[in-house]
Amino acid sequence: MSLMNTVAVSPDRLLQEVAGKYRQRYRFATMTCTDIGDGYDILYHFDKDYELCNLRLYLKKGEELPSISSIFFAALLVENEIKDLFSIPIRDLVIDYGGRFLLTEDAPVAPMGREGCSRAIDIRLQGAPEEEDK
């Protein structure tokens, strides 16, 4: 089974397509990002009268994703979440949390990436003895 009402879109056409959805009175529902190895499968879900319409974008790793938050303000939260959890650079966010929407400075990098946590979590409590002190 494949996702119904899904149209592929390239990063350079994304904002144009999303602006079209706004003009057609679609509501922004959410986004889904999946790490597929060499890149990311990003779905934009829009809703009108209970019908979902999806835009599917393939983003190569290391490439920047344009934010749609200037068109749909509601997208800013999920875009910040994706930025945190997948470490995808997103440009022109209307409010940019700088990768600290959900994660703190000592959190693992890209915890939702395919490799899971790319950096081990340092769970050593503050004040605990260093390894060499033991």
Binding site: M1, S2, L3, R27, F28, A29, T30, T32, T34, L43, H45, Y50, L52, F72, F73, A74, L76, L77, V78, I95, F101, L102, L103, T104, P111, M112, G116
Partner: protein, 360 residues
């Protein structure tokens, strides 16, 4: 100094918040001019964990996204897997799913009412609504064995049936609840103090609510007639639901919507108990899910969206959950600017926030 701005970190620990949420409020005197949420205090990485667990184990996982609407999380997940595996759920199970869904909606709305009343100091209303909620929790325990996380939804149907005797108890419970609501409703609708605190507070227009993607009672309080139960999932095909709407767009309208929805849930439970057919409560689901699907359910706070992608193995490739509170955060950021600091707790509680859902 008059006219100067100050920033107040509102939360994450605050007497009115049942869960940790921080709002960075920019104030001019007592007036909020800007609000920015800071979350991440209860993020559990549930979507990642769902990739590591088997798809059957994920039911127990998604139920723990949120205790208050746990059954509906399991329902949305199971419905998605059933679509992928082409499983048809028996009729009796579809009705049982509706009964437990509406019991969850009732206890969720009563819990919310208590928290809202507490946010503006109406402690007797808080105690009355939570006292009434206990009746729902008791019947949940009697029918499912658990008060909050009931774990009755499985892929292919439900795990437990409700006997004739217990169906009679369910009806008695909603009768008692209706009598309680007859006492609560005039207080929320007409009490001078309640109206002073709620009318005009946190108002957004219908246009703003639509553009910002608000869902559930937040949208319906702005006149947006949208309730995903209208699409007819589970037994809502047979039990018709008309969205409860108000037009005020403020905290008062949101309260009215939820009170009226409790009456609606009571009616739905009565219809489901009356019309439930005899028969099996589950069918076996064999194999593994393959493909991708979106499943949606109307939770007490609004529509939840499950995106599920399977690759034919016992583990899912991706599980993504968009919860209603996440959708209602952008409208909240629009409600707060312009309000008095004292009204911030009321406005935040008026959207019935669930931070466990939001962060997952």
């Amino acid at each position: 100094m008059p006219g100067s701005k100050s920033i107040i970190p509102f939360g994450p620990q605050h007497p009115v918040f049942p869960e940790p949420l921080q709002l960075r409020l920019v104030l001019e005197d007592e007036k909020v001019v800007e609000a920015l949420p800071a979350i991440g205090y209860v993020h559990r990485g549930i979507e990642k964990l769902a990739e590591k667990k088997e798809y059957t184990q994920n039911i127990f996982l998604v139920e723990r996204i949120c205790g208050i609407c746990s059954f509906m999380h399991a329902l949305a997940y199971c419905q998605g897997i059933e679509m992928l595996m082409d499983v048809t759920v028996p009729d009796r199970a579809r009705y049982l799913r509706v009964i437990w869904s509406e019991l969850h909606r009732l206890h969720s709305h009563l819990l919310w009412l208590g928290l809202l009343a507490d946010s503006f100091g109406f402690e007797s209303l808080f105690m009355q609504s939570w006292r009434s909620r206990e009746a729902v929790m008791d019947i949940m325990e009697a029918t499912a064995g658990g008060r909050v996380i009931i774990s009755t939804c499985i892929i292919g149907g439900v795990r437990r049936d409700i006997s004739e005797e217990l169906m009679a108890e369910v009806l008695k419970t909603v009768d008692v609840l209706e009598r309680d609501l007859e006492i609560i409703r005039p207080v929320v609708f007409d009490d001078y103090s309640v109206k002073q605190r709620l009318v005009g507070t946190g108002r957004i227009t219908s246009e703003q609510a639509y553009d910002l993607g608000s869902v559930g009672p937040v949208a319906r309080a702005c006149g947006i007639a949208r309730d995903f139960r209208e699409t007819g999932y589970a037994a809502y095909k047979e039990i018709k639901v008309t969205p409860v709407t108000e037009t005020g767009g403020d905290a008062y309208a949101r309260a009215r919507v939820r009170i009226r929805e409790m009456y609606q849930s009571i009616d739905i439970v009565r219809q489901a108990v009356r019309d439930i057919p005899a028969g099996d409560i589950a069918v076996p689901a064999r194999g593994n899910p393959e493909g991708e699907v979106i499943s949606r359910v109307e939770q007490p706070r609004g529509e939840v969206i499950y995106y599920i992608k399977g690759d034919g193995t016992k583990n899912l490739e991706r599980l993504r959950v968009r919860t209603p509170t996440f959708a209602n955060m952008a409208p909240l950021l629009t409600m707060l600017p312009g309000c008095e600091l004292a009204n911030v707790p009321v406005i935040v509680l008026s959207i019935d926030p669930c931070i466990s859902c939001t962060e997952r």
